[in-house]
């Protein structure tokens, strides 16, 4: 018996608000795939990444943005986050970046070169852009975000929450925090934006 397809629910319900001149909005459509590097498989994985997306494995704490023309139009639409020695995250924020289910697509392309785990539903993602971004985040983030460039990425803790942070542009941050605590995460960020001065 066929059912209606299941509908998707965004962790932040499509939040979008301007606070003190800074726009905070949920990134509703993104895919995020954990790529574990098989021991000894660094080179072959690098080769696969290069051939498919002109990407290579980033050092931990850095990110590499695709120079592939398919993605380069939007500079941040395909990024590899170096999260730990043997693991990185392939993040796409362009809804149409992949023709099919992104996880299946990547699995087909990388095959045995990597161990993959889909994390697309594991995070709530928030894009904040505006003049108060850094002032606001200094209330909850122990890292010096002023030193972040477009090729920096970090996982840290904010208000007892795990958060991955990147700075694609000077006045813009993207934050990824676990889906289950999305409402606490949103409260932490928006309170900071509201009280930044």
């Amino acid at each position: 018996m066929l059912s209606q397809p299941l509908y998707a629910t965004a962790p932040l319900a499509g939040y979008r608000q301007t606070i003190n001149g800074t726009l905070a909005q949920e990134i509703e459509h993104f895919s995020l795939i954990a790529i574990s590097i098989p021991d000894g498989g660094h080179e072959s994985l690098n080769a696969a990444l290069e051939s498919h997306w002109q990407l290579s494995l980033p050092e931990t704490g850095t990110c590499i943005r695709s120079s592939d023309r398919a993605f380069a139009q939007n500079s941040s639409s395909l990024v590899l986050f170096g999260m730990q020695t043997d693991q990185c995250l392939l993040v796409s924020t362009a809804a149409s970046a992949f023709e099919q289910d992104p996880f299946e697509h990547v699995q087909q392309l990388l095959g045995d070169a990597a161990y993959l785990t889909d994390q697309s539903d594991s995070y709530a993602a928030l894009d904040i852009q505006g003049p108060t971004v850094l002032k606001a985040m200094e209330r909850i983030c122990t890292l010096d975000l002023e030193t972040f460039t477009a090729s920096t990425v970090a996982r840290t803790a904010m208000e007892h929450l795990s958060v991955i942070v990147e700075r694609p542009e000077n006045d813009r941050l993207r934050l990824y925090s676990p889906r289950s605590s999305a409402s606490s995460f949103l409260h932490a960020v928006t309170t900071s934006l509201a009280l930044a001065y």
Partner: protein, 983 residues
Amino acid sequence: MNNESMRVHDGLLPDAAPISFIFNERKYTARVGDTLASALLANGQKLVGRSFKYHRPRGIFSAGPEEPSALVELRTGAHREPNTRATVTEVFAGLEASSQNHIGPLGFDVMAINDALSTFLSAGFYYKTFMWPKAFWEKLYEPIIRAAAGLGKLSVQEDPDTYEKGFLHTDLLIIGAGPAGLSAALAAGRAGVKVLLVDEDFLPGGRLNLERFDIDGQSSAQWASNAMAELTTLPNVRVLTRTTVYGVYDHGIYGALERVSDHLPTGSHDKPRQILWRIYAKRSLLCSGATERSIAFGNNDRPGIMLAGAARAYLNRFGVSPGKQIAVFTNNDDGWRTAVDFQAAGVEVTAVIDTRSIAPPVDINVPVFMGNRVCDTAGRLALHSVTLTSGETIYCDCLAVSGGWSPNVHLTCHQRARPIWDDTLAAFVPGTDLPAEMQVAGAVNGDMDLASALNAGHQSALSILKNTGNNAKIPPAPQANAESSRITAFWQVPDCLGRAWIDLQNDVTTKDLQLSHREGFRSVEHAKRYTTLGMATDQGKTSNVLGLAVMADIAGQTIPQTGTTIFRPPYTPIPIGALAGRSRGKHFRPTRLPPSHNWASTQGGSFVEVGAWLRAQWFTQAGETHWRQSVDREVLQTRKSVGYCDVTTLGKIDVQGRDAAQFLDKVYANTFSTLKVGRVRYGLMLREDGFVMDDGTTARLAEHHFLMTTTTANAVSVFRHMEFCRQCLWPTLDVHLVSATEQWAQYAIAGPNSRRLLEALVDEPFDISNEGFPFMECATLTVCNGTPARLFRISFSGELAFELAVPARYGHALMDALAEHGKAFDAVPYGLEALGVMRIEKGHAAGNELNGQTTAANLGLGRMVSAAKDCIGKTLSTRPALNTNDANQLVGFIPVDSQQSLRAGAHFIDEGAPLTLASDQGWMTSVAYSPSLQTSIGLGFIRHGQERMGDQVLASSPLHNEQIAVTIVSPHFVDPQGERLRA
């Protein structure tokens, strides 16, 4: 007196419209820029409070954070803030303050009786009495002492303010914007260094605002103002005023408190009250200045007696004279400046009394008493005269005392470095083992005169530039004259008749120190603790060195021989609310919500905190008035037809790699390398000490891919443990871990109709029949017309059951689909309670049983520890005490009288045995009402449990005066053969 009659000139305050404030229900006026202390003095209000022990009248003693005496309750209602120092409180329009620690009016405190009895209330008297009769301590003596002690009152209402925290990073933290700090900040800032300049005052400048000095041809206050103006234009310099660096922590981390809105009227703004900054500084420069101290002489505690520098500060900065007749008592040249400044302002100076024999070359026209001392004072609520050892009486309503200056070395001591005594300065200066990357400059380092302080700040900045390879050309150091600050140490006037105070707040006098010496409390730490010297809200900022000097006198030793005490954080007290920040109320900790939360809240769900999670406990339907009705219905309907429950909170760990199977064999007590792809197995995990750590099921999704589940409570610690095993113990294994807990919405679907319900959801061609998908099988499939999913045939309830997982974004929709398709079977959602009832009915161990004190043998799972391989915990699980014959075993219990309800936490004893530990046989771990069996049932640990089936014991809960006869039964109350779950 009123109407600011003691304001003799403008000082640094603009002559703007006055603002009004209230002290002790009386209205006064003040100027913008006043502190509460300067405003009270401007209005001639000298009596401000009462001391801690003897309730002696107290006035304003200092002009800064070191204030021991002028403590008030600030604001009203829930905003009331006890023990607030008037000397650092900015006046704002409508400020309300009142004095504290007195019974009756401030002028006639009933508790002042203590002063008359002081001879019997000497240091430590309470240790020697109040012991008889025994019961009287708590009932009589202690309540009286407690009521008399304490200072201000809390409102006992929830703190209505908000507090923020923040994190700052800097290359150079400069603490203090006085002469040295400003000079350093200018030099470093102009050279482009990333500087954070922090000052606790609302008007930066420190001493520059209190004196009549010139720098580079300008008044020192004007120079400070110009310097601040320049610094705020530099993009690489950040300035925080009203901010106190209160502590130095490891590796260049500093704590600071910014008072964002303490100077604003209640309700006039939407800012947080304060921000607690954590500052990460590559290096720091401490320019914290120095604090003046007093001299011990008879009755040196009366209102009107204040530090000489403070008197000068009130005059020069605020234009306020603390008295109409000023006398100065000093042992150093700096004290003379007070006389000079007051005379210049046209205030009568009635005497300068100097303990030294030779007067400094100061041009002044007042009576001078060299080699003389003040030995007594008069004036009940305010000073009116002092008596000298030579016999003269000097009339004065303000005695400005200077016993010398003590560098503010506090922050240098926070990592337990000891300051060093400097005889020339008669003061402690910072020791050599400063906190890493900290330098000191200015008065804190003994550079007491202005020229030296300015230069020291500049030179410190230059040395930092040099060390960091910064070659910027910067202008030379600011120039000023070097004033004299010579001192000849003098501590206490001998043979005074009256008591001589050292600690003004805690009422510690020289006699107390004599007594503590006499009784053997001679080390500094003993004397402090015995007399309470330096333990008050000011932490002895003006009294510690004087106390030490007096102790040295008594012992006939030098000060360095006597010792020192070091300082701990915080430099000044920090509100507990600020240290908590936003973490209070509902935001104390993050809340985790499972994917079905919003759905459940529309279905009558009641929620309960489970660790960080909020989970549905049960779903109330119309007509149900008691939670048990809902839970019983959910259990019965699930066992009868089908129910579904969100079990997303269980930890899920993706384990992948060529050696994943081998790895799991090592971390689990049982074997997983033999598990076939597409199958699921229950796993038992031990700690290395052999006790049970966690349990759960693990599925083999592919040859090199396992999905492990953990208990909700241990999800994080198990992941951490496995990373330890992977990285530290077996680094050569190719195995990789990713947490998948958040990725999947996972729902249990249980009951005889669960397969039929799922048939409506799974897409073709998936075969969900018992043959196609037997017990302990798992599969990857799609449901609801294409949604990717995973299906596990596992059962916690004991029924035919499945767990279905879909990506979390579809979790809400899947609940809708289950409800929709479940209608045909009267399917019910069930919550945590029903889940618990069913697992107890089935005899599954959970958190109450897996409490970290349990062995596999206790659970009856001893045989799961594989003999064929090593695993974490195996060797130590063989220790004798973990394998005794009389070990506790997990069994079931039912009450003999089925009307009685069992109680978790009851202890088992044999009938007729005394209710003592010796009779203790074990305890009940979990209980539930079983709607299936229509009786209360329980699980518990009892000695020899397996051998005692059918025995009767008492489940005793003396906490409830309760003893219930219970029968020991199998823990598998429902379907003991496991036929249903394989159906």
